[in-house]
Assembly symmetry: C2
Homo-oligomer: 480 residues x 2
């Protein structure tokens, strides 16, 4: 009899279940050759005794090993190591050696989308990360979300159908979200006006593929949110940039363009413009809606951080105002909860949503139904609203704290307008300094730098006061 | 003093934390008017005593209420209901009433992708669901995956940078997957040859947008996987169908087409073809690779269920054989673990992957970094391999069990060839029966029905023996 108590090593402190540890030890011994093919293994009762574990634990280990073909259990007779050890060696169908194919280039012609200009800032181990306006995940009820998620996946058979309808988003999430949006943003919608996307960007991508084609014109602000701009360009459409000032995108410019050419759509971030953080004024909002009717263009309204408005109540979205059905409203939970939670949404008339769903199915079939339902539960039980309320208060304080820090420590080097909301301050460096400095420091990573405007976004929401102090002190040392 | 022990109702059995129950009760009382603005609330010590809870619980409730502006805490003085109750009433910027905008149609011209033909089978509450080949989520280590996921999200600040690089997939997952694929499928790749996608479909979508343009030709089998076909059509390319028989797609047909026109790509599902489940023979595989070099076309190899092959070891992918870098290999974890886990991958030469990443950023920015890293851990600790091994054994048994059932109970009505692997049997109804019958029964939902071939896919992997018996008995009753 082999000394199984030496072959099988159990660490009761380990997080790995004991039966798995037993199974691992046995497969290791088989692979090392300590246990040969055909070797009889002790009965579960006997092995349990020598290892000092419960017999059921040993039985679980044997079941696992048998399921994996490592051992053969002959009921009422014996347990033995399988004659054919299960090695993962797929049969070769060709005797030719596998030439390292992926060391080659791809030899068929294909479109070049990135010719090297889009390289992101890839500082390997930055000490200071200044993001472009991300939420503080330490405040988010991610744990509650995942708890619910787990509870759904444990229903097992009942969820066989869980994936049905995820191309539009689960009915549960769309219903809860329709309530939520009408309550918080005055949107008069039903679940059929909603498409749940894989983040706000997918909403922009889908809308632009349906609206634009080579030769179409779309108006955007200057500067603009780069990822949206690239999605528009990808369709072959022409981007027409108009000015953006402290009241948002210039609607007179939009009118002037519309008088000269057919404009298919206008992309706006009324609340708060990316990257400059300005809010579109009430007057311009009304005018934009009028122009949309007069010149028959669609408005793509990107409202990624509606919830975070500090000085006044937020303006209601354009989509909640009187319009002729030409506003496509795009939002996201990434800014409310966690950037890694890739759930966004689009609100639009039903006939448009129907086509979006058809396109979405082709792009990636659909989203994660469990996660969507877990989010629906978070909305239903009020957790999301409570979280947003708390986060808003906290981010408001952080904005004000950063404002004080910037004035006191960096006043000589920079200028900015304090945004009325959002999660970032648009900081312009004085002409004697160059924002490219911020790109080269090995310990610093700044997500959004705009060389043309010598400016960067200082995301304050994700940092607490101590972290904000550190980041500002770091910048001060660099600029001084 | 108000009777707080009656205003505040605590259910210690409830899953809602006690401090939250206290906070809810108080906000409810404020909203109902029981607690008026300015009303003083008892100190935490006093309230804790009258409710029979710990003082810290009451303090937590008060903190929550204060953060949400329901109450004002004046340190060392008193706690009172806020004068301005926080109502979620955004300021209206226009006095015009909000006209139900989304009841309208969308009035701007847009592309019609689905003209009504793609309607899926939407039986509301089917008793029997016959899917087209889904895994049995009851076997999947989803719980282990979510446990790891949760542990990542609880690192909090350390994960500020968690979203970096998710446009290609996290480095961790790509590294683990490169090992896994070389071990299990003979793919000689590194992490830079991998793009992590939101399911296999996204890989197909991205590859086709880079390769195809209006007027390009792509060859597909007939019948074909419909979602892939639609992704190709979306680019404006021409689909050329060639025959598929018991050895897979007909390579002589492919050769004949290539002699007549320029073919950009060939889409194959060598292992096992969807919907017919046939495996592409070794001889044809070699010929296909030769043709690819001779006629310079790309091969899009969709290998969605590689792991499930029962009678022999699986053929190695085309991508693992000698080729000139023209094979784009697409796989998914949806079939290994859970259809709701939307993680797939593409393997291709680095210069192609770079362009895929640029396009992917425009489509949806990136995936869920935590989930990707949780999956990487599942691969690293061997859990995924163990699971696949167990599942394979189980699905093999289910295939054989369904084979017996179909022969015994439905032999008179149907014909089929037992597939050597995969998760479904392609069942053809005899000509005297019509597959449309299966579409109309209110208690039955069949995911993939092919009217042209009078056939459907019978997914066996997701059902245990009892469920398979029920489904077959149901079909028997319908056809008899």
């Amino acid at each position: 009899m082999l000394p199984f108590e030496h072959i099988i090593i159990i660490d009761k402190e380990s997080k790995v279940a004991v039966y798995k540890q037993i199974a691992f030890s046995i497969t290791n011994a088989i692979q090392r050759g300590t246990l040969k093919a055909g070797t009889h293994l002790p009965g579960s009762r006997e092995l349990a005794k020598s290892l000092g574990v419960h017999r059921k634990t040993v039985m679980a280990a044997y079941d696992e090993l048998s399921a994996q073909d490592w051992i053969i259990i002959t009921p009422r007779k014996h347990i033995s190591v399988a004659e054919r050890i299960p090695l993962l060696k797929p049969r070769k169908w060709s005797s030719e050696p596998s030439a390292l194919p992926y060391q080659h280039d791809f030899h068929i012609g294909f479109r070049i989308i990135d010719n090297g200009v889009q390289k992101t800032n890839t500082t390997p181990n930055p000490e200071i990360i200044i993001d472009d306006g991300c939420p503080d995940v330490r405040l988010s009820p991610i744990d509650a979300l995942l708890r619910t998620y787990r509870s759904y996946t444990s229903f097992k058979y009942a969820i066989k159908d869980a994936n049905t309808g995820t191309e539009q988003g689960t009915a549960k999430l769309r219903e809860e979200l329709a309530h939520y949006l009408s309550e918080t943003r005055g949107l008069n919608i039903s679940a059929s006006n909603l498409l749940i996307t894989h983040g706000a960007q997918m909403g922009i991508f889908i809308a632009s593929r349906l609206l634009l084609e080579p030769g179409s014109n779309i108006i955007v602000g200057k500067p603009n949110y780069p990822s949206a701009g690239r999605a528009f360009e990808e369709t072959g459409a022409q981007l027409i940039e108009v000015r953006t000032d402290e009241h948002g995108i210039n609607v007179d410019d939009i009118e002037a363009v519309c008088k000269k050419k057919k404009v298919t759509a206008v992309y706006v971030i009324p609340h708060h413009h990316y990257p400059t953080t300005v809010t579109l004024s009430a007057e311009r909002r009304l005018k934009l809606l009028e122009l949309s009717i007069r010149f028959s263009f669609a408005i793509i309204e990107d409202d990624y951080d509606y919830d975070y408005h500090y000085t006044t109540s937020p303006y209601l979205p354009l989509a909640s105002c009187k319009h002729d059905g030409s506003v496509i409203y795009i939002g996201s939970f990434s800014k409310m909860l966690d950037p890694s939670l890739r759930i966004g949404f689009m609100v639009a008339p039903e006939n448009f949503i129907t086509q979006c769903v058809a396109l979405r199915k082709i792009i990636d079939v659909g989203g994660d139904g469990y996660m969507q339902n877990a989010l629906a539960a978070l909305i239903k039980n009020g957790e999301l609203k409570r979280h947003v309320k708390k986060a808003k208060k906290c981010y408001h304080q952080r904005r004000d704290f950063l404002d004080t820090l910037l004035r006191e420590k960096l006043g000589k080097y920079i200028s900015y307008t304090l945004p009325s909301g959002g999660m970032a301050i648009w900081v312009k460096l004085n002409p004697e300094f160059s924002v490219t400095q911020l790109m080269s420091h090995p310990k610093l990573k700044v997500t959004r730098i705009d060389i043309e405007h010598n400016a960067f976004r200082f995301g304050f929401a994700s940092m607490n006061e101590k972290e904000l102090e550190l980041a500002v002190a770091f910048l001060h040392a660099m600029l001084d």
